[in-house]
């Protein structure tokens, strides 16, 4: 927008910047040469250090999620209805009576109160993970909008093990975020919501989710053969949790 303020500010700044543009300084990609097992191990260690919960799962992940949520006392789960993940969930959900499945398929205006006051848990997918910091990369979409990962007290995420990269820098450059364009609200999430504002003592579950449950699935098109055999991923990766 053109305004007198804009012109005045730019004019003053121009006086301080004679000459041509300064080129971007060298910025080699900060990354680590870790094996897939090492990436997984570090991801889990970093995420559990900030109180994220990790479960290693196979294709029976809905049942694993179900039993975890039941143990936490959840009575319903909100999921993205029109996604592949949502379809898998519905197909293999053990008991809709015990934990109801709520499809999230309406604009927020139509379900605001329900989302804020009557949803115990939500499930989303993610774009991948970052081993160095135990971080999930979320790429909200029309089907899987951003408030799903924020409002319910428990947020569950399915992460494909072969989508874990060493650093944020590597992730962003290798997958060409600048070129492909960002969604309205890309997110990095590392653990449940927390605060250290009182006496620098950590308290969890301030405004966002109180619990973050990450289901790492290792069977899926794992391009890397030594990551694990597709049949029994949990056993192969159990060492990572120890």
């Amino acid at each position: 927008m053109n305004s007198p303020a804009r012109e005045a500010i730019l004019q003053r700044l121009r006086r301080g910047t004679p000459g041509g543009a300064r080129p971007a300084p060298e910025n080699p990609v900060r990354r680590f040469d870790w094996s897939p097992e090492e990436r997984l191990r570090r991801f889990i260690a970093a995420l559990t250090a900030v109180r994220g919960e990790v479960i290693l799962v196979g294709d029976d992940w809905p049942a694993c999620l179900f039993s975890r949520l039941q143990a936490k006392g959840a009575t319903n789960l909100r999921y993205a209805a029109d996604t592949a993940l949502g379809a898998e969930l519905v197909r293999a959900w053990p008991d809709r009576g015990a934990i109801a499945l709520i499809p999230h398929d309406q604009p927020i205006e139509a379900c605001r109160t329900q989302l804020f006051t009557a949803t115990d848990a939500s499930l989303t997918g993610c774009l991948g993970g970052i081993a160095e910091t135990g971080t999930l990369v979320l790429w909200p979409s029309i089907q899987e909008p951003r408030l799903m990962s924020l409002v319910p007290p428990i947020h569950a995420v399915v992460l494909e093990a072969d989508r874990i990269r060493s650093t944020f820098h590597e992730f962003l450059v290798e997958e060409d975020w600048a070129g492909r364009g960002l969604p309205t609200n890309a997110l990095l999430i590392s653990g449940p919501s927390k605060s250290a504002d009182i006496e620098q003592t950590l308290a969890y579950g301030v405004h966002g989710p109180k619990e973050l449950l990450v289901l790492i699935r290792a069977g899926r098109g794992a391009a890397d053969p030594h990551l694990n055999p597709p049949r029994d991923p949990t056993a192969a990766l159990a060492g990572a949790l120890a």
Binding site: R22, K194, V206
Partner: protein, 470 residues
């Protein structure tokens, strides 16, 4: 009129509870930062990179701001420019009025503190609700942040419990930190569910993609920027960086320097309002770019380094002055070393020039700064500007700290050293009449033994020992 700086310093030093609270936090943050950078080589490399990235952004600032504006607008973010805090406030008010908002929920933003936004909005009948836990506590107490990262560290749990009990008698009294946090969560949830308007700051604005990056741990920042119909981001014009791939090194420097965290719980990358077909997110996103003196700082090549700051707070955590006083004694929005450098430039040396003197120049701030701002050098430059000895950079209040007596002493000093007979006379008088001299060293001598002038000058002693004039 608030009390003088020296009075506030005295009050802070006498407040044992305050000093204990500040000290505990500062020691904790210093230790956490140290653990977060175990590899000093990596730290050196990162700091250098951080400095260069921020330096490049400032060197190309006008072009980058235009690029940011163009890309934001392509993304649907509306960009506004404000020369002063008053203009910024008026812009925000106008946006809120158009939305019919009577209340705005706020994520933590130091720029909004700088604008005095809450106060301004209240006067116009719009309630500003702070949602960050620390800021929420301060709003209850009617206080200002005492630290840019951990705003309420000057309070301990006992004080916070008492505040909660006074404001929310319906909740049971607790001094338990988890319990206090849970109360805040419940109170805030209602606001988040209903709010029409949200306001936040910006940590980095990325020009090439038109993206606003916000970091936080609590999730309140995400709620303020996602749940309401309109999101207004206020941002200093210096916060822009050129490219998306420059974000990761700055991000890791910021969080590790600030709290020792490898990363914050949330890194929120906002590239536009709700798009066609999307089911949530604000319908409008506005970016208010605030100058408020920054373009003037930008003009001076040396002082420009001030604008590299990424507001991590490490300089205050490591400052021997800040860690004894806390932030309130400074009486400014930005305390600590960066405050002592920034505030005199924003508000004028006549009003805040004293802050540049509140430093022992130990150099710790410059050593830890993740973007290598030479803070001690800038403090010395501002001291020189204050007494009118600097190059003319248009720092407001330049020369205002010059004192006639000081001038007189220094000009005598210069004369004496330029004219040997005068020098001789002066040392003669000083040594012979030393008992008659009124040596008032003021507060300096209160805890120190004042020096005593020797009966004979070094020259005389040397000559007596037989040294020839060389």
């Amino acid at each position: 009129m608030p009390p003088e700086f020296s009075v506030r310093v005295g009050q802070a030093l006498d407040n044992e509870r305050l000093r204990r609270n500040i000290r505990r936090t500062m020691d904790g943050l210093v230790a956490k930062r140290r653990q977060a950078f175990p590899d000093t080589h990596e730290l050196t490399v990162l700091r250098r990179r951080g400095k260069l990235i921020r330096g490049q952004a400032l060197a190309n600032l006008p072009d980058l701001l235009l690029e940011l504006e163009a890309n934001c607008e392509r993304n649907g973010i509306q960009v506004h420019w404000a020369e002063t805090a008053a203009e910024g406030n008026a812009l925000v008010l106008d946006l809120l009025r158009r939305q019919g908002a009577r209340r705005v929920i706020k994520g933590k933003s130091m720029v909004s503190e700088e604008m005095g936004l809450n106060h301004y909005l209240e006067a116009q009948g719009i309630q500003a609700v702070e949602t960050d836990l620390g800021e929420f506590i301060l709003q209850l107490a009617g206080e200002r942040p005492s630290h840019i990262i951990a705003p309420a560290i000057h309070k301990d749990r006992g004080e916070i419990a008492a505040l909660f009990a006074a404001h929310f008698p319906e909740y049971p009294h607790t001094e338990d930190i988890e319990g206090l946090t849970a109360i805040a969560r419940r109170i805030m949830r209602e606001h988040f569910g209903q709010a029409v308007a949200g306001l936040s700051g910006v940590n980095f604005a990325i020009a090439e993609s038109g993206t606003l990056c916000l970091v936080e741990n609590e999730g309140n920042g995400r709620l303020c920027t996602t749940a309401p119909d309109i999101h207004i981001a206020v941002c200093g014009i210096e916060k822009v960086i050129a490219r998306l791939d420059q974000l990761p090194p700055l991000l890791t420097l910021l969080t590790r320097s600030a709290t020792g965290q490898p990363i914050t719980t949330y890194v929120n990358l906002i590239s536009g309002p709700r798009r066609e077909g999307e089911r949530d997110g604000p319908r409008e996103v506005h970016l208010v770019l605030l100058d408020n003196g920054r373009s003037r700082i930008h003009r001076d090549q040396q002082l420009r380094a001030t604008l590299r700051c990424i507001r991590c707070g490490a300089c205050m955590n490591h400052c021997p002055v800040y860690s004894r006083l806390g932030g309130h004694a400074y009486g400014t929005v930005y305390p600590g070393p960066i405050g002592s450098v920034l505030e005199p430039q924003l508000q004028g040396l006549d009003r805040q020039g004293e802050l540049a003197e509140a430093s022992s120049l130990c150099g710790a701030c410059g050593e830890v700064c993740p973007v290598r701002i030479p803070l001690p050098g800038l403090l010395r430059r501002l001291r020189a500007e204050g007494v009118g000895d600097g190059p003319d950079a248009g720092v407001p209040g330049q020369g205002s700290r010059r004192k006639v007596l000081h001038r007189l002493i220094w000009s005598l000093w210069r004369q004496a050293h330029a004219h040997p007979p005068l020098y001789w006379l002066m040392t003669r008088l000083a040594t012979r009449l030393r008992r008659l001299l009124p040596i008032g060293l003021g507060p300096w001598a209160r805890t120190r033994t004042p020096p005593v002038i020797a009966p004979r000058s070094l020259h005389e002693l040397a000559r007596a020992e037989g040294f020839a004039h060389e």
